[in-house]
Symmetry: C2
Subunit: 418 residues, 2 copies
């Protein structure tokens, strides 16, 4: 074993492939004889000194981890303030890192996590402790800056496109005497990347989804209802994909999924799809159905994209390499050199350019009528859902997902006063 | 070609494998040199003389049909009354059958469709027209009498168990700082078969779903909330699977997914999961998420059970065989001879025993505390989700689903006055 340990942690909303990154980190570190500890529940576990000894996991378990969704070590939503404002926490973090001889820290997450990783990376300078901190990208929202795409997004995008195509076949069959309009609510509070991916389900203009609603465009109810009627008149039925983050012209969310009332004052916990379906039913009289896949869309490892899965592992391996090479405050990002044939590689990018930035969809990705995606968007999105990531099933008909032993490391320090 | 044609039609809510039955019907008929016409939108197409010539479809298209979800010829929700009450319709139907020399009629559907098939089967006697009418079972609700299970259910059951297991891994990872309770709404207005299938996701008592709510048991809000709290205290998080048809002790639906208000007077189009999630949040203060998969659960051919897929094809082949053998008013049903190893065969059963009956879950399938399934239920359900039905994907990362040409047959009769 090399001198020093590597600490890995998962942060923010988990994905179908974040554990593939974890498996790649552990696998690469094992090859290089580096011991990997994992923090339980992200940076919180590091503060609480709740660490897991990954050397207790078998090689088979780590291989199975690569196809298991969720976050095997637990994740967290927890934001560190600046070194000055949260000095006590950083000092505690440093004590934990020192107690366990952590020389390399890998933080696997999205925007907020890149910010945390960047702040932790500054510990070396501020406290004179030799730490190499690397961010590992992950988010189904696809909103990280610099990287061409984010591991996790491609699989959720594939789930979205496949689910919309399948549901559309159902609706088409029922439309004559039953449901004519179906509404699918896609995740994406600020950017419509997943809603856009639904557009890959369509091969010609009358294919589903005939209408996509993006948070990048104000929701115009009159235009929406007119479009639904037009599609039903022509096609016989209509599939709508709506981003959860769509807003009215005055900037209110059409429906706040977490709140008690929607933007129009109706009391519900429903969200956008239930609102739109209700409007279509009330105003146009069509029978409607709607779906809110919620966590299913980000945990559906059974529908993972092979491209996405490979990239999740590639950034995990690269992160270990960068750490051991002595880099600090960087993230391995995906760089695309060609759409067709699709070519990509992994390169380091400074965390400072990624933390707290949010990548929006380029305006050129949305059609002028704002109800669909352009050829440019399609060229960008298409490679990301390609290929089916291998998944072993058990004789019981369920995927063989692994539960790690997660053996805790003995604590060296007094309990943390949160 | 044999003398006479065979008419096939799809009815009621479609499934992931009803087209597998259609493909088997067409394939078996081709082997026997029998011409198959399909009615567009079920019995409505027969009444309207909107028939499709399936001989125009290539062998490759019919093979692809076997793995395409939805209903390739269109389905309908349309109920015929008795021969006396709807005499004009039956006469019209007879004219259409005669005009196209239809000697065999196969109707692929659930309870209502078995009733329609039974009524049509009586035409031969009533009008002296030589017709052989066979029902082909199909429904994700698994509520057909006589048959051990219904093609379509096993695949929806597998989707349910896999989705719940995947989402649970997500919730488990997030619970420390975010979502603690996740609610999954399963289809099943009158019987909790699909909710019960979610129980297959659990291997030990603390596994998700820790709570299942069945329409067979009155919804007791106090007991439900107490159980949620207990599970969160012990496990750290809780996954609830609720059947859309759960009712209060006085027989009101907890939330009417199609209506404007729930059983407690709140205005919403949401359904059961949004209601339960709202209650958990309000009463227990936990962060909640919920999902309404809706049509996704019955159209997810990508998650079809091999057992189910094989049975869907077996009943399709048997239906053709029965028809050509001269049987009338029967349905090929699944007969189970053993749970382990799972053994089944197809046998004919009289439509009169199936039409208008509804198979409930046996009381012995529900645990005494009513929040889960028993070992007996598990023994019944387990074989139905086993195996993964083969599915070819395109280079674009999407399943290769087929769109048939659906070439219309030239009409021989005047337009039907509906």
């Amino acid at each position: 074993m090399a001198k020093g340990t590597l600490l890995y942690a998962q942060s923010g909303g988990v994905t179908a492939v974040i554990n593939a990154s974890a498996a790649a980190v552990i696998g690469e570190a094992r090859t290089r004889k580096v011991k990997v500890l994992a923090a339980r529940n992200g940076i919180l576990g590091a503060l609480r000194e709740e660490l897991i000894d990954t050397t207790k996991e078998s090689a088979a378990a780590i291989r199975a981890l690569a196809h298991t969704p969720g976050g095997a070590f637990g994740s967290c939503r927890y934001k560190l303030k600046s070194l000055e404002a949260d000095r006590a926490k950083y000092e505690r973090l440093l004590q934990v890192l020192q107690a366990h001889d952590v020389r390399w820290f890998l933080y696997n997450g999205g925007n907020d996590s890149a910010d945390t990783a960047w702040k932790v990376s500054q510990l070396a300078g501020a406290f004179g402790y030799p730490l190499h901190c690397i961010g590992v990208p992950k988010t189904i929202d696809n909103d990280l800056a610099v990287t061409d795409t984010c591991p996790g997004f491609g699989s959720a995008a594939k789930y979205t496109a496949v689910s919309v195509r399948e549901a559309a076949l159902d609706v088409a069959a029922m439309a004559e005497t039953s449901t004519k309009v179906f509404v699918y609510e896609a995740m994406g509070r600020h950017a419509g990347w997943l809603a856009a991916a639904a557009g890959l389900a369509a091969q010609s203009p009358d294919d589903a989804p005939q209408i996509i609603l993006f948070p990048e465009r104000a929701y115009d109810e009159g235009a929406f209802l007119a479009k639904v009627r037009k599609v039903v008149d022509k096609v016989g039925w209509c599939v709508v994909v709506a981003s959860e983050g769509i807003q009215t012209t005055d900037g209110r969310f059409v429906a706040d999924a977490g709140g008690g009332t929607d933007a129009f004052g109706h009391s519900q916990l429903g969200g956008v799809a239930s609102y739109l379906a209700g409007k279509v039913k009330a105003e146009l009289g069509y029978k409607v159905h709607w779906t809110l896949p919620d966590y299913l869309q980000r945990s559906a490892r059974h529908m993972a994209s092979k491209t996405d899965w490979e990239q999740a592992q590639a950034v995990g391996r690269a992160a270990v390499r960068y750490a051991l090479e002595g880099r600090n405050a960087v993230m391995p990002v995906i760089v695309r050199s060609s759409d067709a044939p699709y070519r990509w590689k992994v390169e380091p990018a400074p965390l400072s350019r990624i933390a707290n930035h949010e990548k929006k969809m380029p305006a050129g990705f949305l059609r002028k009528d704002s109800f669909g995606i352009t050829a440019r968007a399609r060229a960008y999105l298409a490679p990301l859902i390609r290929g089916e990531a291998p998944l072993p099933y058990g004789g019981d008909g369920l995927p063989r997902y692994v539960t790690l032993k997660n053996v805790p490391v003995r604590k060296q320090l007094p309990r943390w006063q949160e």
